[in-house]
């Protein structure tokens, strides 16, 4: 049931990389990758949020949602609340990060702009929590899974932002400048990541 830690790590970072293989978290991936500095900031925020949210959600799932209580005589099982609880936890974590960032590094807060609160709706974060539940990971494994998939997200984002900074200097045909060439490059990158399939 629980694959060992190594396969989770390689699996989450390279083989089924959240952005380039599972295509989760594309909107911040495209939105924030204009400059490497903002990409690093975003990666930091996402790693922090995903790791903590995987930990908290797996704890809540293990000790509350998957249990069945007997309250006033009837059997109760709250697993159907799973998505709602996950989203609430992620949203509050993001709010926490936003406040801390606004206080301690306003330039990064300015640079990330709308994409910082958007981490709440970032399907990569919710995806990590959901996937670790589906895969039946324990608390430790799902935290590692959350952390590694965040690292995968960060790797793809930094790689992609350095590519976009180089393309910023290229004479890309006018209609394709900016996001369009970004999407095409991301497509080729995803194709390259398929090379790692079957690794794990």
């Amino acid at each position: 049931m629980a694959d060992n830690i190594l396969t989770i790590t390689i699996g989450a970072i390279l083989v089924n990389n959240f952005v380039l293989a599972k295509f989760l978290g594309i909107c911040p991936f495209l939105g924030v990758s204009k400059k490497i500095k903002t990409a690093l900031g975003m990666s930091g925020a996402v790693v922090f949020v995903m790791t903590l949210s995987s930990l908290v959600t797996s704890l809540i799932y293990k000790y509350v949602l998957s249990k069945t209580f007997t309250v006033a005589g009837t059997e109760i099982n709250l697993t159907f609340l799973k998505i709602l609880v996950f989203i609430v936890v992620i949203a509050s974590l993001v709010q926490l990060v936003e406040i801390i960032l606004q206080k301690f590094s306003p330039p990064l807060y300015q640079a990330l702009g709308i994409f910082l609160p958007l981490i709440t709706t970032n399907c990569a974060v919710l995806g990590a929590a959901e996937l670790s539940v589906q895969a039946g990971y324990g608390v430790l494994e799902s935290t590692i899974f959350g952390f590694c998939s965040a690292l995968g997200f960060a790797l793809a984002l930094i790689l992609f932002s350095s590519l976009r900074e180089k393309l910023d200097l290229a004479q890309v045909p006018a209609p394709l400048k900016g996001t369009a060439i970004g999407l095409i490059t991301a497509g080729i990158l995803a194709m390259v990541f398929m090379g790692f399939s079957g690794l794990v």
């Binding site: 790689l159 350095s162 180089k166 045909p173 060439i181 095409i184 390259v192 090379g195 399939s197 690794l199």
Partner: protein, 334 residues
């Protein structure tokens, strides 16, 4: 010294004198010369491919090369740019693409490959010099994932017979298990199945040495690339021989030689600084070995080079190093 007034002293006409920034003289290098030299370096591999796979190989090469030139010219015409086939880069991409296809590849695969290589791989980023990924490999990987059956229909080599063109699906040395493993001798001269450019090791080595002598490629890339593959395959082979073939086999088989000498050293998509080239080569070698030994695909060279192409901007940024006379700036001006 009495100055003899020669009647016809002609002075230059000032209105025709060209004004430009210095320097006013230049070395003889041009882009087309470089590309021609690389094409010459590919000649032995082309000859070997035709020798082993017959006219079918020649047909694939011609289709790819002229397909690429045609796509580039059409793109230039639509984009309103002047024709650029003279610099030879489209022809080179075409030939390298052909080297990645098997002799049995149908004609439409070649043309589709040309479209992908030049269109998606190069012109969409702005033409020569701006593409982050090696165009020929973009096309190969796209075709490999899109049409796995066509791309892996290897033709068994018929040394010397030119008209043999029946597609026998003999496995490639890398994919072969157990008895079908080719002998080192066959691998060396090229009497094995596989892509046009991947078979004859001797031809590729000749081409590679030519490139090194002519200083058209940075030696760090092939050295680090092949060195890493040898190192990892040697270690893994020692630990558990069934896992993988011995290092020498790894070098001669598959696309390692053509990858290391012609694909990874493509100037546009590899790092400019010397230590950047070392990191690039090491990365390519590492990923190739990982994919070959543990990965799903038998051949990892294309994926590794493309992955390192994606890393090149990052490598360039971090290996810029400090300019001459930087050491004292921190004390004095900051």
């Amino acid at each position: 010294m009495s100055e003899v007034e020669t009647p016809t002293i002609k002075l230059p006409d000032p209105t025709l004198l060209i004004v430009s920034n210095s320097p006013h003289i230049r070395g003889g290098e041009t882009i087309s010369k470089i590309m021609v030299h690389v094409l010459v370096a590919l000649a032995p591999a082309v000859a070997a491919a035709i020798y082993f796979f017959g006219l079918a190989a020649l047909e694939v090469m011609l289709l790819c090369t002229f397909g690429c030139i045609a796509v580039e010219e059409i793109w230039n015409k639509c984009a309103g740019r002047k024709p650029t086939w003279k610099d030879g880069s489209a022809a080179l991409t075409g030939l390298l693409l052909a080297m990645n296809l098997s002799a049995g590849a149908p004609w439409w695969i070649c043309l589709l490959g040309a479209l992908l290589a030049i269109g998606l791989g190069k012109q969409i980023f702005g033409g020569l010099g701006f593409n982050p990924f090696n165009p020929a490999l973009v096309a190969r990987v796209a075709l490999l994932i899109g049409f796995p059956s066509f791309m892996t229909s290897w033709v068994a080599p018929q040394a010397g017979k030119f008209m043999a063109c029946d597609a026998l699906t003999g496995a490639t040395p890398l994919g072969a298990q157990g008895a079908a493993v080719a002998s080192l001798h066959d691998l060396f001269i090229g009497n094995v199945g596989g892509c046009l450019g991947e078979t004859s090791a001797i031809a590729l080595i000749i081409g590679g040495v030519y490139l090194l002598i002519k200083k058209l490629i940075k030696w760090q890339v092939p050295a680090a690339f092949i060195g890493t593959v040898v190192l990892i395959s040697a270690v893994v082979h020692l630990v558990n021989p069934e896992m993988t073939q011995p290092p020498l086999y790894h070098i001669l088989a598959g696309g390692l030689l053509i990858g290391a000498f012609f694909m990874a050293t493509d100037m546009v998509t590899s790092p400019m600084t010397a230590n950047g080239a070392l990191i690039f080569g090491f990365g390519c070698g590492l990923i190739t070995s990982v994919i070959r030994i543990w990965g799903g695909y038998p051949e990892g060279v294309s994926f590794s080079i493309l992955f390192m192409n994606a890393l090149t901007p990052l490598i360039d940024r971090s290996t810029i190093g400090k300019p001459f006379g930087y050491i004292r700036v921190k004390k004095e001006s900051e």
